[in-house]
Symmetry: C2
């Protein structure tokens, strides 16, 4: 999939005032990718909100696995349109079964107090020269044939300061993953950029839940299922410029792991934050 | 309000299979407290879930201000009951207007991978000897008459390593607030303890969004409105034993601020995490 194809995927068919239909890439026979559900739900909700209001947060649950060859119906409920905020709930269905639900809030952009907790980005670094994240995962995985390593994505994924990639060696602390869309996004629409950031954010966030256990979701006998997803957009950012996603896992327990992190631009500006809980499938 | 009164507040009237009614403390003429909505919604959802399933996450939006003298109707939607997980959506209404919505997930407790990212709690510390958090806020606030400083709460709230409490002096970094219910909670029910943790978690989490701006929500001309709330419960914990809530604010922008943190027991065990975005009302 390239960027025009991804932009096509997040462009939904408008069925009626609150119903939209989205499709998955035709070359995909795995379950629907969670980031696609997040992104399509952002676009469905945005399609019902007054122009000029921009997404500042979303909260989603992954309910059932989605089938890539079946269209996805998005039903939007307008919870409230206030003076400054619009709240939406979006339900995604396949064959009338709910596979996903997302609540969102949009805000009329405004001024107000501004603060950034310091976060050091070394001047002059160039993510394009860093280790490709998928090469690093491949090196520590016991399954070099995993489809993800060769999947064509419209995404440049780089790992800053990669820990040594030794199979069966635990990795803890914080990962610094840089991402940007490969290609130019031909719009400034903050809803489309938020949708693309949501799409990319689900690529790697939960990977970190497995690393402390000296395993990767790409290992032969392991996997991760996303349970939920939360994003905060402090201010608009472009998905085709480098964004640092930090990933940390405070704890795993009861078969679940939380991953969370920050979204930061190359000039060190915090533009958002995210978290995801995942189910760790391990023998 | 004392602990028996709070336990009474979170004990809902069961109207029918998916409808519950909750009330607010009668001595309160301010808007309904957000933590009460979180806690009552936990109890409403739990009232529709098979015994033995425990809450592991919740995601809520505060939609409208609630009136303390009006009963709150909680309508629960069973999104799905699977083998291991139950998903619920809870809508809170007053006079048929939605004031609050919460999605939740419950899980059959299980084993599985376990990891804790190290977090230092100094051995032998006793939160009961620490600064009372409300005394500290009062010292830095310009409005010593704010009702919150004298409100009777069934909650012991302590601040570890308090930064100097000087009015108009910015505070950044991480706050360490210890909390426990005052009194014994006469049950082990993990749903009730989760509801109480939700109730207490909303007392202070967003305070931190205002401190970098050298202001407090208790100041004369400032306030904070909670926009949303997310909690993860890694494993059950008792609300009447000390829990450390860490609070940090990565950024504020566009009039909004994110606060987030960890929940940790006195022996240094991470039992959960939380985040809340808030609207900063400042002249």
């Amino acid at each position: 999939m390239d960027l025009p194809q991804l932009l096509d995927i997040i462009t939904l068919e408008h069925v009626d005032a609150e119903t939209f239909v989205g499709r998955s890439p035709v070359d995909r026979d795995r379950p629907v990718y969670g980031g696609q559900l997040l992104a399509q739900a952002v676009m469905a909700a945005a399609g019902t909100v007054e122009a000029g209001r921009v997404p500042h947060s979303l909260h989603a649950y992954f309910i059932r696995s989605g089938a890539a060859r079946t269209p996805i119906e998005y039903r939007v409920e307008a919870i409230r349109d206030g003076r400054s905020f619009s709240h939406r709930s979006v339900i995604a269905l396949q064959d009338d079964r709910e596979i996903f639900r997302q609540m969102m809030s949009f805000q009329v952009p405004g001024d107000g107090l501004r603060h950034q907790e310091p976060l050091e980005i070394e001047p002059g670094i160039d993510p394009a020269t860093m280790t490709q994240y998928r090469h690093w995962v491949e090196a520590l995985s016991d399954n070099k044939d995993h489809g993800w390593f060769g999947e064509i994505l419209p995404l440049d994924l780089r790992l800053q300061d990669p820990p040594p990639a030794r199979p069966r060696s635990p990795i803890t602390g914080t990962l610094r993953i840089w991402m940007r869309m490969l290609g130019h996004v031909p719009t400034d629409d903050p809803c489309i950029h938020a949708a693309l950031l949501a799409w990319m954010s689900d690529k790697t966030i939960s990977d970190m839940t497995m690393y402390p256990h000296a395993r990767s979701w790409t290992d032969t006998d392991h996997n991760i299922l996303s349970l939920d997803h939360t994003m905060y957009f402090f201010e608009p950012a472009r998905a085709d410029e480098w964004i640092l996603f930090t990933h940390e896992t405070p704890a795993t327990a009861g078969g679940r792991g939380l991953a969370r992190g920050d979204m930061v631009t190359l000039d060190g500006h915090r533009i958002g934050a995210l978290s995801q809980e995942a189910l760790l499938l391990a023998p």
